[in-house]
Amino acid sequence: MSSQDSSDGQQCPLVVVGETGFQVSDEVYTVTIGATVPTGFENTAAEEVQEKIGANAKISKDRGRIYFQITTDKLSQVHHLRSVDNLFVVVEEYDNYQFKDSKEETLEDLQKLASKLPWSDALKVWNMNTTLKKKRGPHRQPQGPRGRGRGKANKVTLETDTMQTETIETDTVVTDTVVTDTVETDAIDTVETLTTQEEELELEAPTADQGEGAGGVRTPALEILGEQQEVPGQELGAKVLKFRVTCNRAGDKHSFSSNEAARDFGGAVQELFQWKADMTKFDIEVLLNIHNVEMVIGIALTEESLHRRNITHFGPTTLRSTLCYGMLRLCKPQASDVILDPMCGTGAIPLEGAIEWQQAFYLAGDNNDMAVSRTVNNICHIQKKRRDKGSISGLPIDTVQWDLCHLPMRTSSVDIIITDMPFGKRMGSRKNNWDLYPSCLKEMARVTRPGSGKAVILTQDKKCFQKAISRMGGLWRKHHTVWVNVGGLHAGVFLLKRTLGIFGQIAEDSREGKESKPHEEKPGEERKKE
């Protein structure tokens, strides 16, 4: 890859002009955008980029990143992508960076590198992006006493793993595609509060499933304490920007740690621009991504991951929306498809579908009271958001409380089943799965249309699942599997096709292997037959 920039050698601190600090030009030029996506769904994301932006995406295999080029006039479009977690603009890419053998020399190199990089185009893009977000904010929210576009305070109730209820007051500002939303707290995730220079107050939970890739270590930037200095030529009143450096490093042969790289590179960046380092309240996040001999320096365009965009009422195992999107894309919903999630939890998957593929109809169901309640709340929240934006709020989705082994659905009435099956770690148990999976799959086979029906199932208990499927060859056929990373666990998304076999007439669907026992007719079950 070549350098993006026709650098005019802007090496010294950029002249700070105006509020955000950089001169904005009207010229259109091409930049490279990087996006992190759920590992395993790189192809899906690339498809979406092709479809919505018309750009060819390059995939960093297995590392949850894709890259594509756009012209700067199309910048706002990248925020409409639903398969990406985070976006950044590339400053420079190195295919084969020669790291020196010793730590001292390598770090010194990194320091020297800072002033040689073609920052200006990327910074202009960052600036453009910041302006874009500001434009979106104030239109959506009523003006509050605290200044531009602060939203109303909302009280949101969070429910945790231990079923304790915690009430937090938040300000939420709703922008075009990014929902600044509250976050679950449970034993595994931690809550980090970020305040940016803009109006939004956001809560973000960095989770293990950030899709960072094999062996990458995400470290917070080291805060460099120092005196804030006035920039020569800085206009009075113009504020000094705050920044941080985030380094992800993966590879065996490096002599340094990501902390050290972030620290030293960050130091050089600070010298160069005279920005102030701040780990939590930063304007600019500089990314230093190192994977063996590949190195990418970028500037973040998203403040918090887009992955939780639809969900405000979390449960203990809520799937991120980008993963939901990826799964839905796999099954390609068509007009009038009836799509069922029999274990919907908080409703993340069907809700994403109802928003993005409105030509289908979604049924979200769960047996658990809390899950049903959260699903309803999440749907209501989205509908309200849409109303506030002036759109038609209704969505093609319904919620039912049901037993997934006794679905109140007519045989062969469902086109697609899409769900996240219990992993046995955060919910349910391995032992239960041995019983649960076969019963689920049978009932799902009953309601799904033979021949054209499909199922997209996410599960971490791959062994149990594969075994259950192998015993159901008469009803389900494995079509494709995507290996993903969910909450640090390796899981599989299995795409299954429903065979032409009629339920009730195929040997493989007999219960619990007791082939001889005839299926007992009970009053409740009789009505399930066509």
């Binding site: 049924l363 309803v376 209704g394 919620t399 039912v400 049901w402 109140p408 659905m409 007519r410 009505r527």
Partner: protein, 116 residues
């Protein structure tokens, strides 16, 4: 819970014995969706359900021919299918008489121990 679910569901009667709360909300009209959905419906069940809720209006009791091109008709179906919602009420199985309550728009279809 909107009526759309009903035709898929084995239960086709909304019980009038319980207090019923119905809401009509706006959902984007998609003629393609509606015309492809119609063959999947049990038309009489749909009519009956709409009627039971007092929202039959001028929906024909018999399915008309060539509905694909009839936008007027499709809009009527769209309304009943997606926009009329039961918030509180009851679904009743026409065979067993078993009632399933609907709360906050969500029908509870869980079976008891004996029924399962």
């Amino acid at each position: 819970m909107c009526i759309c679910i009903l035709y898929l569901n084995v239960l086709s009667r909304i019980s009038g014995s319980q207090a019923t709360e119905v809401k009509v909300s706006e959902v984007e009209f998609n003629p393609n969706f509606v015309s492809r959905m119609i063959p999947k419906l049990e038309w009489s069940a749909l009519v009956q359900a709409a009627d039971g809720l007092g929202h039959l209006q001028d929906l024909p009791t018999e399915l008309i021919a060539d509905y694909e091109a009839n936008e007027d008709f499709l809009r009527k179906v769209h309304r009943v299918l997606l926009e009329v919602e039961v918030l509180e009420g009851c679904l009743q199985c026409p065979e067993s008489g078993r009632e399933f309550p609907i709360t906050r728009g969500v029908p509870n279809m869980l079976l008891n121990e004996e029924e399962a």
